[in-house]
Symmetry: C2
């Protein structure tokens, strides 16, 4: 289990999940938005960088990985991410936490280790863009899709919290 927390990050209520406030540097013509660099303590290894576009009203849930860890940031729009600890051997098994990602107040990196169910939806301005700098390239063998309304995760995407 990826429960080691690197220095300089904020541990969350789920073991191994953490956030790190990211720089948004004002500049002429538009800001520079930091995400991840190889010389920070919370960088492990580069697997893949890709983007998920989230249309207005859309929910993308749930995903779970056997091996891959996610490093999320939202450089356009705002996103709600819900994470649920589905690891039976985890000290925080069954714990659920929600995160907001996006400018202006929540421009941050969210790290999600393997074994966690996660899903996301766009807030207000849409489409939103989720960037993921994962520690392994995508492989369908290690990624699991779980229906958004599955009873395996105690969260309703249709409720007022969505």
């Amino acid at each position: 289990m990826d429960a080691l927390i690197p220095s300089g990050v904020v541990p969350c209520s789920i073991a191994g999940v953490w956030t790190k406030t990211l720089g948004a540097m004002p500049g002429k013509g538009g800001p520079i938005l930091h995400m991840l660099r190889c010389d920070v303590p919370h960088f492990s290894i580069f697997g893949e960088i890709y983007f998920s576009v989230i249309e207005k009203g859309a929910v993308k849930a749930w995903k779970k990985h056997k091996v891959q860890a996610q490093n999320f940031a939202c450089p356009s729009g705002r996103i709600r991410i819900v994470a649920y600890d589905a690891r039976q051997a985890s000290p925080t098994f069954n714990k659920l936490e929600t995160f907001i990602l996006g400018l202006p107040d929540h421009y941050q990196l969210l790290h999600i280790p393997p074994g966690i169910c996660y899903g996301f939806a766009a807030l207000d301005k849409a489409p939103a863009l989720l960037a993921n700098c994962a520690d392994l390239p995508h492989s369908p063998e290690e990624a699991e899709n779980i229906p958004a309304d599955s009873s395996l995760v105690p969260y309703s995407w249709t409720g007022p919290e969505c």
Copy 2:
């Protein structure tokens, strides 16, 4: 000089500059936009992933790096990038080429080696977002800023081509 061209990419008129069409995979709720993964022939090393927001009408030019190579994609909006070969020892010294990056028709990776002057501006829908997965983390020691109207680069950002 970074003039070696990896397999599977499209060499441009400037030595060492190339493009690679990227996947935009349709999906429920919005597409997945590929950018770069560690197991492709054109990946070298991970230095940093960051974003540059480009407001409507803004021009960000010129930049030149001594060591760092850029890997650009545009996952939101559309961008014009102009590249100029400022390497006196290059077989394509003084060559200039323009590129469009962005969906739906130009979702591609653009690789720019060190020694090339480059600048960019948002097209139509703005703000646009430029993602850069560079091979070194940013360092002010190796990055040079050149004014957008410098006579060193034979391109006018105020002309009809902008």
